[in-house]
């Protein structure tokens, strides 16, 4: 059904489309991480492909492969009714770092193309530890900031437990939940756009309030 899209991609990009598959009516194209954004942009903007709808982005971990992650982007064309799966293969950043050109560990975000990608790329980061360059807000989404590891990696054992997160009075972005004044930042991170009256240096205010806040010291707690 969407063989047409594959042909169009091959016409446009030639050898840069590394592999294509067709299995049970699902078409897949594999590209290099460096071509990720360009191919995605082409798929969205080209009149023939017209992949206007972002369906899903996820990853699959193959720990035995050298490039262990397969990043999977599912796209759909609302007007033409075809679907395509775009894939790329990434190395583990914990192993290769982020600056090795022979072992790419990151791809650019597709959030500028489809706003929907925002939360789903965050989820991929959360679950697999794959970073997206230029992502507007790449923090964990389903888990909490203090979570150790990325649970959907195959080497994350399913019965592994996480340590209790101690209350950290020194963390500026994790203030005691109840404070004398009600205009307090609850977030783990300062996320609001800083504009006009509202954003008068939050951090400084927080620090000023730290002294008067009821700070619970974990060491002082009865065990």
């Amino acid at each position: 059904m969407s063989q047409f899209v594959i042909d169009r991609l091959k016409n446009r990009f030639g050898d840069r489309i590394l592999e294509t598959h067709s299995f049970r009516g699902d078409e897949t194209a594999v590209v290099a991480p460096s071509d990720w954004l360009e191919v995605a942009r082409f798929l969205r903007d080209d009149a023939g492909c017209d992949m206007s709808m972002f369906t899903d982005i996820t990853a699959v971990d193959y720990p035995k492969r050298e490039a262990r992650f397969e990043l999977v982007l599912n796209l759909y064309s609302l007007h033409k009714g075809h679907r395509l799966r775009l894939k790329t293969r990434l190395f583990d950043e914990e192993q290769y770092g982020d600056a090795d050109p022979a072992h790419p560990t990151r791809v650019p975000t597709v959030t500028p193309l489809w706003a929907a990608a925002n939360w789903f790329e965050r989820e991929v980061w959360d679950m697999f530890g794959i970073r997206f360059e230029g992502h507007p807000d790449l923090r964990r989404i389903l888990l909490y900031e203090e979570f150790q590891g990325h649970p959907l990696r195959k080497d994350y054992s399913a019965d592994r437990t996480q340590p209790l997160v101690p209350y950290r009075p020194e963390a500026k972005d994790k203030l005691p939940p109840f404070r004398v004044d009600e205009g307090m930042p609850f977030g783990r991170r300062d996320w609001s756009p800083r504009d006009d009256a509202w954003s008068t240096d939050d951090i400084a205010t927080n620090e000023a309030h730290l002294g008067e806040a009821v700070v619970v010291d974990p060491a002082a707690k009865p065990s």
Binding site: R24, S52, D56, I141, F186
Partner: protein
Amino acid sequence: MEPHDYDIDEDDVTLPTEPMRINMGPSHPAMHGTIRMIVDVDGEAIRNVDVQIGFLHRGFEKMCERGTWNQVFPYTDRLNYVSPMICNIGFAMTVEKLAGITVPERCLWYRTLLSEVSRLSDHLTCNGAVAMELGAFTPFLWMMKARDHVYDFLEEETGARVTHSFARIGGMAKPPNAEMKQRLEEIIPAVEDILDEVEKILFKNRIFLDRLQGVGAITQAEALQYGWTGPTLRSTGVAYDVRRAHPYLKYGELDFDIPVGTDGDNYDRFMVRHEEMKQAIRIIRQCMQRMPDEGPIDADAPGIVLPPKQQVYTTIEGTIQHFKVIMEGAKIPAGEVYGYVEGGNGEFGFFVVSDGTGTPYRVRCRPPCVFTLQAFPRMIRGHMIADIVPTFGSVNMIGGECDR
């Protein structure tokens, strides 16, 4: 009588109006489901919202990688727990697509019928909750009564009211009850009556209209940009419905309409869901007429579908087959597919990867309500705090599906 504060300088008593950050949830009466919203308010007007999800995260995708393919079904029940049957069937269809199994005619009809019954319970819950949150408690109770009819029916069919775990790869857990159609004949008029009553009590109510119309609106372009599907997308005027765009099961042969809205506001979402319930009833009626009373339910796929109990208890081949399917799991050929159905909230998809063993290598669920929820800040900016309640209600965020 002179005011008590006649000697106070007016300038000193003006209230300071500095913006404030307020925390709603994760355990808040209006946040049904566990979700946290950090709201920046200027007076009562909302400037920005940060929606934080994940409080109901159970590791669905990780859990799926541990058991056999059939052991995923109880987990799918807990994705969208107001329409679990659609999740069950969606996963079964995806794995069948991967394994290349076609299920018999009667099973297709049965699944179509159960999907629509499940859609009824989904939309009844959502619309009931929206009405209740606006203070209309009576229609909520009526709709819960209607949902109870639906649950009673599903209980008789599957043995469980909510978590059915009823689909299997290549068929269903058991064939339909002999008196299934008579039971439907009883409950469908009861549900229809309740829908009519709800229309009478709600649709001309000034409070109901004022709180919903023009609130939480989103444009078509934005909805598409955020990847919306399902009733929420249709409320903006895009007639995309998986049942019509990519007919699966028996939807291609059935006669039903796709209701669409125009403004994409809360009112349109409510009305689209309301009309979809009527269309669901229409589909159920057609299924009742056309579904054959005799015939197999399970596909002929040895090694994947369990053999009939009679065979298991009387023949050694049957016993061995049963043992292998249960203990080793159905061997699904290696490969990967994306399968999708029209869930209660939109395109409910599964991306599954198999390495040829009895255990899924990777199961990914595409949760439609996350897409809707992601656009929530866009919908609510500029409205009042009280508008969060109906807007959040009409988004129909389902914790199990959202956080997985």
